[in-house]
């Protein structure tokens, strides 16, 4: 297959909803006569049982079948196989699944169900337009001082009911992922449209803000020792009761009262917080009228955050800060501070106690513990990647190279990082589970970023070969996802592997143009086999198009037999699952 693959315009579903009695519902929908479709010898599997179909309609050559558990669209002329039969279900596409009548409206349909009506518009858009729509939604609804995780709603499917706050344990990770996508968007536009084009300027602005938001988390604790916060809150935001938080005041930080801090009996514990936040980064909250006093940050930071931050800093340094020297200085300073912290603390991220945080350990002794043994393959790769990124960003070797060589030559990290599948599979036999049951789907992005970084930056052929092997050790579980966000960095890193771009194109085509969560009706679908794994987890035997399954970040089993979106049914998610993948694909020339 020749590169780049040309992504075409593709129909995308846009749904709007009306409760019974709403005057916008056409009267003839309410009076439409339902006639059972003749589905004898229908040549494809159908999402509902044939006998459950109750009504049908045609829009041109396309047929729509309504059933007691959802709506089916049949386009026998569809160019792509996965588009021939599409399924629409509650709550994302319909108010409920009991379809009573269908009324064609051009290429679109009105669908009457038990509790109301849905208008389903099938609009043909380009994949870049989709990226723009999703970005606009995230900037408007998800952004929290340019951090991007998700936001809660008070009313399902209603963006206007959004709560103004909404943090995440992984604000740093999710924002970094978003940021990398936007940096590559900027780099793509710069190459294609020129640096002064309005689109380029806008892209630069958004990417810069996201990078600043990430860098701020590397300084917001004011500890001055490179410690990274998971997240932070301004005084007007509630502090969630889900971990360890510090409130900063007058050069000190105090442990906030939460269930966790009470259990540990550390409420009010005081630590130093006198290091200044760089002014440019502080503007993210000072421009809103806040000062550092009263800011609450979340600690007990995990390796997930650190890994995302490092690769984000690499891309920011390489493709964004080249046009922004001041930002580059901040990146260099931040990377040095964090790398020094990790090395000086024996390859651990140390919390206020001087002890490692729960999940940020890369030291050799940790890998001999029960959890560490399984984590070893990933965490060794992470730590090696941090070193290469720091050397690249700072242009220095010295301490970084000395440490890197120690890890490679004395500790065998470049070998351990190849053992992911072996260790996981061994554990699955030992503990009698099916290995997919213990795949940590969130680890896929961590492995992707780590090995991608290693393969981009390592120049020693022998080590590079080891890192490629390490990346391949993740392939059997990552390949389950067919997600371009993992696949494209993999193919960049392992050029001997051949991508199926047509398949990946289908993923872009069938991702919704909104991250508004509501859930789908996967359970009970008649055309999807279900399998039960040893420990009882249920999976489906086929990966469905993204618009027919739940919404998730880079953190979920895509064939899990579940209806609910990751954030529940009342939330709007960050767009970076799409935008990260799309702009990686564009920037590296896979797609146009």
């Amino acid at each position: 297959m020749s590169l780049p693959y040309k992504l075409q315009n593709h129909v995308c579903r846009f749904c709007s909803f009306y409760k019974l009695g709403d005057e916008k519902i056409p009267a003839n929908l309410m009076t439409a006569v339902s006639e059972k479709p003749d589905l004898t010898d229908f040549p494809y599997p159908l999402p509902s049982k044939k006998k459950d179909y109750t009504c049908y309609a045609k829009t041109g050559d396309i047929e729509w079948y309504g059933a007691s558990n959802g709506l089916t669209r049949y386009d026998k002329n569809a160019q792509r196989e996965e588009d021939i039969v599409m399924y629409f279900s509650a709550d994302r596409d319909l108010l409920d699944n009991n379809v009573k009548a269908i009324l064609p409206d051009g290429d679109n349909v009105w669908v009457l169900t038990e509790t109301g009506a849905a208008y389903i518009e099938m609009r043909s858009i380009s994949m870049e337009e989709k990226a723009d729509i999703l970005l606009d939604e995230s900037v408007k609804y998800v952004s929290r001082r340019w951090m991007f995780a998700q936001k809660r709603l008070t009313e399902g499917r209603n963006l206007d009911s959004i709560l103004p706050y909404g943090s995440s344990d992984n604000d740093g990770s999710f924002t970094s992922g978003f940021s990398i996508g936007e940096i590559l968007r900027y780099a793509t536009y710069k190459k294609e449209k020129g640096i002064d084009h309005p689109d380029t300027v806008k892209a630069k602005y958004i990417a810069t803000k996201a990078v600043e938001a990430c860098l701020l988390l590397l300084h917001i604790s004011c500890r001055g020792d490179g410690f990274v916060a998971r997240s932070y809150h301004t005084p007007d935001e509630p502090v969630p009761d889900d971990g360890l938080f510090f409130r900063i005041n007058n050069g000190k930080a105090y442990v906030v009262e939460t269930t966790s801090s009470k259990e540990k009996n550390i409420v009010g514990y005081e630590i130093d917080a006198s290091a200044p936040v760089p002014e440019r980064l502080a503007k993210l909250y000072t421009d809103l009228g806040f000062t550092i006093d009263g800011i609450v940050y979340k600690a007990d930071t995990s390796s997930d955050e650190i890994t995302h931050h490092f690769l984000n800093m690499y891309f920011a340094h390489e493709y964004l800060a080249c046009d922004d020297p001041e930002l580059d200085e901040l990146i260099i300073m931040s990377a040095k501070g964090l790398m020094n912290h990790i090395i000086d603390n024996g390859y651990e991220l140390h919390d206020f106690t001087g002890e490692p945080t729960t999940w940020a350990k890369w030291s050799e002794p940790y890998f001999h513990t029960e959890f560490g043994w399984v984590d070893g393959a990933l965490n060794t790769a992470e730590l090696l990647m941090y070193h290469l990124v720091t050397m690249k960003i700072t242009g220095e070797k010295g301490k970084w190279l000395e440490s890197y060589n120690y890890l490679v030559n004395e500790c065998g990290y470049a070998d351990v990082c190849q053992t992911h599948f072996d260790r996981l599979y061994q554990a699955s036999i030992s503990m009698n589970f099916d290995y997919p049951e213990d795949i940590m789907y969130g680890d896929h992005m961590l492995a992707t970023l780590s090995f991608w970084g290693l393969c981009l930056l390592e120049i020693d052929e022998k080590l590079l070969e080891k890192y490629r092997k390490g990346f391949k050790a993740w392939r059997s579980s990552m390949a389950r996802e067919h997600n371009p966000g993992y696949d494209l960095p993999y193919f960049i890193s392992c050029p001997d592997e051949k991508p199926d771009l047509d398949k990946l194109a289908g993923w872009f085509y069938r991702t919704n143009a909104s991250r508004l969560a509501a859930g789908v009706s996967l359970i009970g679908r008649h055309d999807v086999p279900v399998r039960t794994l040893r420990l009882g987890k249920k999976e489906i035997s086929v990966q469905l198009p993204p618009d027919e399954t739940f919404i998730a970040k880079y953190d979920r089993d895509p064939v899990e037999y579940k209806n609910e979106d990751s954030g529940g049914i009342m939330c709007v998610e960050n767009c970076y699952v799409y935008t990260f993948a799309y702009w990686v694909g564009r920037f590296y020339g896979f797609f146009e």
Partner: protein, 825 residues
Amino acid sequence: MNNKLHIVSNAHLDPIWLWRWQEGCGEVLQTFRSAVDRLKEYKGLVFTCSSASYYKWVEEIDPELFEEIRKLVKKGRWVPVNGWWVQPDCNMPSAESFARQALYSQLYYYEKFGEICKTGYNVDSFGHNAMMPQLLNKGGMRCYVMMRPGMHENPEIPENLFWWDSPDGSRVLTYRIPECYCVNGKNGIDHELQNLRERVENTGHGMMFFFGVGNHGGGPTKGDLDYLLELKENGYEELEYSSPDEYFAEMCADKELNLPVWNDELQHHASGCYSATSMVKQLNRKAEYWLANAEKWNTVCGKITNLPKATEEFGKAWQEVCFNQFHDIFCGCSIMEAYDDVRDSMGYAMKIAANEENKAMLKIAGMVNTWLDGVTDAVATNARHHCRNLKFPRPVIVFNPNSFDVETNVRTYHPSRKVENADGKDVIFQNVRSSRSNDSHKDTVFRAKVPAMGYATYWLWHEDSEYCEDLSDNKSDVSAEELTIENKYLKVVFDDKTGGIKNLVSKEDSTEYVGGEFCIPTVIDNSEPDTWAHNIFKFDKEIAKMELKSMEVVECGAARAVMRVKHIYNGSYLNQDFILDSESKHLRVKCRILWQEPLTILKMPVTVDGENPVSTYEIPAGYIKRPCNGEEEPALTWGDITAGNGNRKGVALISDAKYSYDCPNNTLKLTMLRNCIFADHYSDRPAADFSYTDEGLHRFEYAIYPHKGEAENSGVQRISALINSKPVAIPVGYHKGDLPQNKSFVKANKDNVRLDAFKFCEDGSGDVVMRFCETDGKYVKAAIVCDIAEAGFYSDFNPFEIKTFRINAEGYVTETNFLEGIVND
């Protein structure tokens, strides 16, 4: 360092080898009795034994002993391993056979002992195909014990303990027994323990010590057990009674374990076993396909009529087939008398297939609307019997057991004047010479198009009928001259000196596929190898080419042209009918061989010219590529040679009975027979009147399939199905019915997703089980529709992945494994 030596006391039991099965059965009973006694005498001793069929024998013949064993299993003192019916040959059974090995055995173990076997265990099998990890995993086993080939035969395969991956993504933790699975006697024990100690030192992990008298049974002796206790007291503290299950559990709990990964097949040990004793190979192939297809029709019929489910009958039949896949049986290295038993046993299995297939097909056919107004009068006045109804055409229903539409020639046993399809359109046909001398001497061959896993109705006017007009244009693309047969796709020119093929040309693009020696039967010296061909991996000592005796075009009509070529060698002959069907892209060859040459091999070569030759072979659930180095290789239904830079081209040889090939450079050779002494294990062969494995008459079919590109992209699997899984034509009566004249019952929308099983679930629930296999080595999403089960579903397949689905009465589908969701792993 874990230095434990796990004592795995066992008794290798060959139910047939240098003895017949009755003696093997007795040997099992005695060994099991002895093992129970030893377990009572030696505290903590654990006994390990494989093969569900042995347990079934004991249960039937000595229920008291069986009850004792059940109790020991519950206590963990007796450990059943290998959830298969026997320790089969691991190269030649089909994927479906391996599925049945697991299905019947694991369900048996589950019923009798409350759990299934966790460990696969084929310690004596003569090589292991590359898909074994998947075949074991899907039968509930994630660890494996094997021994052959040994390090002296293939040192590249990791020693001791390693991860073994198959291309679908499956993996088994594999233990390779270093030297012997049945160590006994003080000297043997001393040697083995020293060897194992060194391995523990080198690897850092524990090892298994397999001991106990074996082959003809026996198990651990009191003398050896006492000696082991003595050793434990005196320097061998690391010895512990154990089992493979316990060993693997301990290994997997070891965080220091760092093992090599192997992702290829495990070959070669006994290369002669792929061809020795042609009879058992042919019976196996025939039984595998017939049983699978008959069960498909039983299931279809069971869903649409009141035909009783024959699940139990099929179980009995498959158990016979599974038993005969035991490595010393299927590999052709047992005594001659044992093969008389095998023939009977396979005959029993195939009779069940024949009965059930016939019942189902006639029942389905009876529901097809074949009524013609006035037909009863015609029968009354004109017919001597039904097939000679002259006033009306005779309905013939053709059943296709494959999950894809086929178009192929089929045969009925009466001559015709005209053939029409269900739409009343003329169909190409030809009256051909029948095998009988009675009556007209003629049969009809006609070109049928039959939907996937379905049937099509054709209407045949009898040759003597005056009520139909002659087919105005029963002409086709087929033609023949003195040395040539051709159709629209292929032109085949024979050499009048050698009787081989001189030219095989694709008429679409003028590609010549003959690149050297092609279909010239070659006799190879086989005097050196024993039956197994131990330590001999190439059969390349050519004695002679068979001499061309005659060559003639014996048929040329609309449906096909046939060139008959006869070769002779000493007192033996080979008759080949090269059959080129209309619109066919492959050439079929029906062979009849009378062979009387001791210690010889007969090979059939095809040669393709070009650089970078690659040979490809079908293995269970997929294919494998191997170097063109002339070593004898096992394969299922086809082997292929492809060569050339840029425009690559290849020729596949497909057969309905054979399993062995070699491929030196650009020449692929099908091993048609191998005539060695029965069970000849490097004896000194004293002067005697030996019996030979392949002496006598052989009838089988092979096909030559030229293609562009690599084998896996050529559609060779579908051609193989046309040779091994042929549509069946059934003459039927005139009747009214609810079914249309053409119908498909199961359809997969991807050619590389093959239906291997369509059956009722073993638990009697009435649920239907479908098993599919991806055959081209590609990721694919398939849509599968089966209206009679009210089911339609999608599934992703990894390359070569076998998937089993269970469909309930409402048409909802669960994905299971070979065990049909009846037991949990």
